[in-house]
């Protein structure tokens, strides 16, 4: 490996690295604005100037200069110091001195680097330029006078998000960052430009003037808005969650999160169930915990076990599902279901419901077949990964289902199940290439599996996977789904499925754990809703037990890869709300079937003992195509030829938290307008 000297210290580096990267290898900090590891190199801010020998006797932009063998890189010479001061002075010429009223204050690269590398004062006496504000949608607030034209946002939106909506117009002193004629940015990842912006030009609109970064309590947690389980940091002050930021996690989200993950949190303080309610004469009235729990216990005691049903929602933590399974199992209830959409998986081995390529491992796939899934809306961060590979020319995609704009090119193979089962016999070029592919994968979406004929489609897809040696991947949309399936939170012997439970006359008592995606209006059972938001389930409920949202409890979540992750409590539950497992524990007492744990730690110990997969925190099993046993997927009936569609119809409104969020409602309205215009 070639070697270079950085400030006299010799380091080895990989060929192709830039001078900036080599200097970082040696532990030297190089200030930068435009350079970003995950974006293309622009080299236009000039902040990373260093001295390089051999070379011309002037400072060089280290981000764009390839390192070579025997090079001497100097980052602490007087020339470099002077160069940085000069660049900083230029950058600050047109930057307003409005840090006290800027939302970026305290976490601003320009502020920090001006302190670290700039001069102590300004020599500039002319007029500064001012730039008009732009409109970039309901999420991104612009103060364009602060912009230093690093073009990170342009490169992110074009390269990573694949929705080229932001550009740099005009030239020289007049350049401005803008969208085309104030169009809203139409990417599900758009708000990441706020994190990327090194100054306060692009800031968060919903969070504007809310808090300073040093006032916030930062809690590292896991996202539940989709089934990826992105690593997030929850910033809270007092009882309120103010914002969510991404955490670096190369295995899942790199350093991006979707707009829903970031902005649905204002839904955490709206439409909340903050005390128990019981229905009297058709109306819900506030009640005490004792009253509500006694009522529930009395109903459960008289009902026969086969007339009791439990449905777990999409945002449930594993512990509460475990507690529910233990409690209702001890009562002899077999009608348990965590699959509100009726997903036809749950029998068979664990691999049949996992994303076996793993999220990071999917980058090794050279051909992927999407079946009834639109990853752009179901898992935007994963979609960015597909796009990354596709842009690199290393990935070919075929789609059976909807012809949506995925931000990358694909071959459209058909709409329905017939195109899927016909694939094995097809002699098309795509199939030829698929046969030759070294590492093909199939991704089947929740939309395809959740239909009435989902079982038959799953079987057809499994056959295709077997024929072509493809790695079997299920892309879930519900954060709780894999955890529920791992727990066996599915109907036991004689048990009813979620859809059967919701039908009229099926049950006497229906217990909903945050289940809002299923229509239970037909059910005439006594309905108990344990959850956080006044959404579909609560409207139907006869008793409401206020639970805790994902930011309000410690909980385990299993993502679509089968990776168990720890969510952490950032704030306490609203009002009289309690953590879900402790509600079930209290209920078990009243039923005389006391659960054998008094603390979350004891519950977890029991969970790990009964289901060892949960004990391996942050481990994604993954499996090669040959090692996956798909024999558990058996056809149930025949597939109809209705077109396969994605399970996510409105990206911004998939769960009760997002539906309660004003920001998400705005985004959904903008997105609906945009699609209406596009349709015209």
């Amino acid at each position: 490996m070639p070697k270079a000297k950085v400030n006299g210290v010799e380091v080895e580096f990989e060929p192709g690295m830039t001078v900036l990267q080599v200097a970082e290898l040696a532990g030297e900090e190089i200030p930068r604005f435009c350079y970003h590891e995950r974006l293309s190199i622009a080299g236009n801010c000039r902040m990373c100037l260093v001295e390089v020998k051999p070379g011309p006797p002037k400072p060089q932009a280290s981000c764009a200069l390839p390192a070579s063998d025997g090079q001497e890189i100097i980052t602490n010479s007087p020339m470099v110091k002077k160069a940085r001061e000069g660049v900083m002075e230029f950058l600050l010429i047109n930057h307003p001195l409005d840090c006290p009223i800027c939302d970026q204050g305290g976490e601003c690269d320009l502020q920090d680097q001006a302190m670290g590398y700039g001069r102590d004062d300004s020599r500039y006496g002319e007029n500064k330029r001012a730039v008009e504000e732009k409109f970039m949608g309901p999420l991104i607030k612009t103060v364009m006078t602060r912009c230093i034209q690093c073009t990170r946002c342009v490169r992110f939106i074009t390269e990573v998000a694949g929705v080229p909506d932001i550009g740099l117009i005009s030239r020289g002193e007049d350049v401005e960052i803008t969208t085309y004629l104030d169009k809203a940015v139409a990417s599900e990842l758009s708000a990441n430009v706020i994190d990327l912006c090194p100054v306060g030009a692009l800031t968060s609109k919903p969070y504007a003037f809310n808090a300073r970064p040093w006032e916030l309590k930062k809690t590292e947690s896991v996202d539940v808005m989709d089934a990826l389980g992105c690593s997030i940091r929850v910033d809270s002050r007092g009882p309120a969650v103010l914002r969510v930021l991404p955490r670096l996690n190369e295995d899942i989200n790199e350093e991006w999160i979707s707009d829903k993950t970031r902005y649905a949190v204002d839904g955490l303080s709206r439409q909340r169930l903050d005390k128990p309610y019981v229905r009297e004469a058709g109306k819900l009235r506030p009640a005490t915990w004792a009253e509500a729990l006694n009522l529930v216990a009395s109903k459960l005691k008289v009902a026969s076990p086969d007339r009791i049903g439990v449905i777990a929602g999409d945002l449930q933590d594993a512990e509460s599902m475990k507690a529910a399974k233990d409690l209702f199992g001890s009562l002899g209830v077999t009608s348990l279901d965590c699959r509100q959409d009726g997903m036809a998986l749950g029998a068979g081995t664990r691999e049949t419901w996992l994303f076996n390529s793993t999220i990071a491992g999917v980058e090794n796939a050279d051909m992927i077949l999407f079946v009834g899934t639109n990853p752009r809306t179901e898992a935007p961060v994963l979609n960015a990964r597909f796009r990354k590979r596709w842009v690199a020319g290393a990935l070919e995609v075929g789609v059976i289902g909807e012809q949506a704009d995925l931000t990358f090119g694909y071959e459209y193979l058909g709409a329905g199940a017939a195109s899927l089962s016909g694939l094995a016999k097809s002699k098309s070029d795509f199939v030829k290439r698929l046969k030759a592919a070294k590492n093909p994968a199939i991704i089947i979406g929740a939309g395809a599996l959740g239909r009435a004929d989902g079982g038959a489609i799953a079987k057809a897809a499994a056959d295709v996977a077997k024929t072509f040696g493809m790695t079997w991947n299920v892309l879930h949309t519900a954060a709780s789904r894999v955890g529920g399936l791992d727990l066996g939170f599915i109907p036991g012997e004689g048990g009813k499925t979620a859809a059967e439970m919701a039908s009229k006359g099926a049950l006497d008592v229906l217990f909903l754990m945050g289940a809002d995606e299923i229509d239970v209006t037909a059910s005439d059972a006594f309905t108990i809703y344990m959850g956080t938001h006044g959404d579909a389930g609560a409207h139907k409920a006869d008793v409401i037990l206020p639970g805790a949202a994902y930011t309000e409890k410690d909980g385990l979540y299993v993502n679509t890869e089968g990776r168990v992750q720890l969510g952490q409590r950032a704030v306490f539950p609203k009002g009289e709300g309690r953590e879900d497992w402790s509600i079930l524990r209290a209920l078990s007492d009243r039923l005389g079937a006391t659960l054998p744990y008094d603390t979350l730690a004891q519950l977890r110990a029991k969970l790990f003992a009964d289901h060892p997969t949960f004990g391996r925190i942050d481990y994604a099993p993954g499996a090669a195509a040959s090692a996956i046993d798909l024999s558990g997927i058996v056809a149930a009936g025949t597939a109809t030829d209705a077109p396969l569609v994605s399970g996510v119809r409105a990206f911004h409104l998939t769960n009760p938290i997002a539906r309660a969020s004003v920001t998400m409602a705005e985004c959904a309205a903008v997105a609906a307008d945009a699609s209406k215009i596009a349709a015209e």
Binding site: P164, I166, G167, I169, R171, Y180
Partner: protein
């Protein structure tokens, strides 16, 4: 459209976006300016994002992004050479006749702007009117010129004082000796400058 296809076909497959500047230029030739629907049409034609075309159109100052005068687009050079030869007076003429810089006149017939060097410095001051160069302008001559355009004529381009190209004002000042041209001043050449040295070359002095 034929010209558009010709430009597009100049670039290899998958690189059709390279034709964006010529295509925008054709649009401007046809319409006089580049309109917003035109930008969208060009983006669709070349299969690129609208914002990318917009970036190009705003970057180059030669693309007019608002309607220009029906009679003439007057571009007066205000860079150093023209300025020292009196372009300020020409700018003042425009300001008086048409109003502020980079605007259409009230009657919509003219659009004028001050531009940077157009490369006719030796014939300063100059103005480009509808892409034709009018040089060696005086205030009176410029006024007359604009009157002619207002009347719908197209005066012949070139120098106002009638000099040919950028020939020297007042005739040539050197190489005037007729002896140069009748052969009488010529002397036989003894050796060509780069010819091989005759005899032994001297060793260079160290």
């Amino acid at each position: 459209m034929k010209q558009v296809q010709w430009w597009i076909s100049k670039y290899p497959d998958g690189r059709q976006q390279s034709a964006v500047i010529p295509v925008l230029w054709l649009v401007q030739k046809q319409e006089g300016w580049v309109s917003e629907p035109a930008i969208r049409a060009v983006a669709d034609l070349l299969k690129m994002a609208t914002i990318r075309v917009y970036e190009v159109a705003t970057f180059y100052t030669m693309f007019m992004l608002e309607p220009v005068g029906t009679m003439a687009l007057v571009q007066v050079c205000g860079t150093t050479a023209c300025q020292s030869r009196g372009s300020e007076a020409l700018l003042e003429v425009c300001r008086k006749r048409f109003g502020p810089d980079s605007h259409r006149s009230a009657d919509g017939k003219f659009y004028w702007q001050e531009v940077e060097c157009l490369g006719a410095c030796s014939n300063a001051p100059m103005a480009a009117i509808n892409d034709r160069y009018y040089e060696d302008l005086t205030v009176e001559g410029f006024e007359k010129l604009l009157d002619a355009f207002a009347a719908g004529q197209t005066p012949p381009p070139g120098s106002e004082i009638g000099r040919q190209g950028s020939a020297v004002l007042g005739g040539n000042s050197t190489l005037n000796d007729p002896k140069l041209y009748d052969g009488s001043a010529a002397k036989p050449i003894k050796s060509l400058p780069n010819a091989a040295p005759k005899g032994k070359a001297k060793a260079p002095v160290a």
